[in-house]
């Protein structure tokens, strides 16, 4: 192993360098110029995102603890794009609210550390690296959820997140210890050879799956989601629902399709049942929400149920559809959260009835919101339709027609509550409509990128072919 093989960890090394540069910036920038930290962080992260697109090398490091391939590399770029959009959307909030309390730099450092944890988690080659990545990705987010220390609701969401995350990781570890007992190794490459379908292995696998289910907020483990999203700052809620969920889905998919493939006859049924109840409960609870953040929380639970449809076939087709859907979901959900954040920042209003008559006062914001909701619901011209359509194709390719039918029923239910918001914005009139306001340049840029993504990604078919080609690299 020579020095150049460290370049396999290019994403991680550059991001770590960004974090360290921010530490230097925190020390050297005087306290009345702290708002320049926001520009610096966005600039550095932009460089990091662009650097991710250069031609990568593939291979493994540290005796197989860390490995990377074409699909993992691509997915890290997806996460980067998501975080970059999120930074653009939350820049104004950080500048106005957080910099005043002299805590701007820590925000970026914690956010980037969490992203670093996700890189290690999806590149993991053994359970130790996986566990460390999981914890590194979760702990900073819990600190960020409690970041508005003067708000009681923020602390409440922080404590709820940290306690459920700790319980989830404890359950995961107990499951991993059983997998270790039956296979004799914590390395994925050894486990896949030694794994058998005895009862202890299955128990270990179920506990492990439950722990990851917490992160993706599948239904029996979803109870923290709505409360945490409502209490946390909006940028953190959107980070949890997009980036964190995307990374967890990705690693779950890789583990199920490669390491735990011999247990497929077990997890097929589990994923089937969880998909159905997650879709139904997420959608039915979303119907009665009045707060936009809780509404988006339950909508994101329902979306997690749809993603599970892509896990069922267990082959390259499933991988491609899941990654494609996550990519589209990043853009659609960030657009919706971005609009909620813009409105909350300028007016402090977060209820659905506050959105009545929004189209007359803020037409651009309403159009972005409408695109986002159409994409989440899966209405044909926008990208979300293609994402859902491919997921359904993946499930139908193995003959799960009943599951696809139930998913279509759920799309109909979800259409109802997404259109409730659209109706409030476009058809209702209100005396107390949110007055016209101008967003700053970063917010405009963030919303513009998501809107373009929603419009273009679905129609640009080489993208799906490209992802499909990459998907063979994990097998």
């Amino acid at each position: 192993m020579d020095f150049s093989s460290f370049l396999l960890m290019r994403h991680e090394i550059i991001l770590l360098a960004v974090i360290l540069l921010l530490v230097v910036a925190e020390v050297s920038i005087s306290s009345n110029k702290k708002s320049s930290v926001v520009h610096l962080a966005i600039f550095l992260f932009g460089i990091h995102t662009i650097a991710g697109f250069f031609k990568p090398d593939y291979g493994s490091l540290f005796g197989g603890m860390f490995h990377t391939n074409a699909l993992i590399h691509f997915f890290k770029n997806v996460l980067n794009i998501g975080v970059l959009i999120l930074l653009l959307q939350s820049a104004d909030w950080i500048e106005e609210k957080i910099i005043q309390q002299q805590r701007g730099t820590e925000f970026f450092m914690l956010l980037f550390s969490s992203l670093l944890g996700m890189y290690f988690m999806i590149s993991a080659g053994d359970f130790l690296m996986f566990y460390l990545g999981l914890e590194l990705s979760m702990l900073p987010v819990a600190a960020l959820a409690a970041y508005e220390t003067t708000k009681r609701i923020s602390s409440e969401s922080g404590i709820k997140l940290i306690l459920s995350a700790a319980l989830a990781s404890g359950v995961t570890l107990f499951g991993v210890s059983m997998l270790y007992a039956t296979s004799g190794s914590i390395y994925f490459a050894d486990i896949v050879e030694a794994i058998s379908s005895d009862n202890l292995t299955i128990l270990g696998f179920v506990l492990f799956f439950a722990g990851l289910g917490f992160k993706i907020s599948l239904v029996p483990f979803h109870l923290w989601t709505a409360d945490v999203y409502e209490g946390a700052p909006i940028s953190i809620a959107s980070y949890l629902s997009v980036i964190s969920k995307g990374a967890a889905v990705f690693i779950l998919m890789i583990l199920l399709f490669t390491v735990l493939k011999p247990l497929m006859f077990i997890w097929e049924n589990m994923v089937y049942i969880l998909a159905v109840i997650t879709m139904f409960i997420g959608n039915l609870f979303a119907l009665r929400q009045q707060n936009m953040k809780r509404f988006l929380a339950f909508s994101s639970i329902a979306q997690a149920g749809f993603i599970l449809l892509g896990l069922i076939p267990g082959n390259a087709l499933g991988t491609a559809t899941v990654v494609y859907f996550v990519l589209i979901y990043v853009f659609s959900n960030l657009a919706a959260f971005g609009v909620v954040q813009a409105i909350s920042l300028h007016t402090g209003k977060e209820q659905m009835k506050d959105y009545e008559g929004l189209y007359r006062t803020n037409p651009n914001l309403s159009l972005v919101m409408m695109l986002a909701l159409f994409s989440l619901a899966g209405i044909p011209p926008v990208a979300g339709f293609f994402g859902k359509f491919f997921l359904f194709t993946a499930a139908a390719s193995k003959g799960y027609y009943l599951l696809v039918f139930l998913a279509v029923v759920n799309v109909t239910i979800s259409l109802y509550y997404y259109l409730l918001v659209v109706r409030a914005m476009f058809l209702r009139q209100s005396e107390t409509a949110i007055p016209y306001f101008k967003s700053k340049i970063y917010m405009k840029l963030g919303l513009l990128i998501t809107a373009l993504g929603i419009l273009v990604l679905g129609l640009y078919s080489p993208l799906y072919d490209f992802i499909h080609e990459l998907s063979n690299s994990i097998f």
């Binding site: 566990y131 940290i162 700790a166 319980l167 409360d227």
Partner: protein, 105 residues
């Protein structure tokens, strides 16, 4: 290896420990006790890793290393949770779950 004690006995103890933790987490009404319950769960898996390593695969040290990392991460987790609880206590002067909750669906 401990003379006269089989792996089954120790694994039974850790499993009981694990479920005490889960039960405590679900029933306790105090944030600190909930945190202690989570620690029980984590310690159950730590003991599991060490015992499985020692009894079944004594020629490698993977389980022992894993347990050291779990202990370190659990300490970080507890520190963060306690700091959030302290921040909450400053605002509401209580660590009871029923006083904490303002968000209900």
């Amino acid at each position: 290896m401990i003379e006269g004690i089989t792996i089954y006995e120790i694994l039974t103890v850790t499993t009981i420990l694990f479920f005490i933790g889960v039960y405590g987490f679900l029933t306790r009404k105090n944030l600190i006790s909930m945190l202690i319950s989570v620690e029980l769960i984590l310690n159950a898996s730590v003991v599991n890793f060490v015992v499985i390593n020692k009894y079944l695969y004594p020629d490698m040290l993977q389980g022992v290393f894993f347990s050291i990392f779990i202990i370190a991460v659990a300490a970080a987790e507890t520190a963060l949770a306690v700091s959030i609880i302290i921040n909450l206590y400053r605002q509401i002067s209580s660590v009871e779950v029923k006083d904490t909750e303002v968000m209900k669906h």
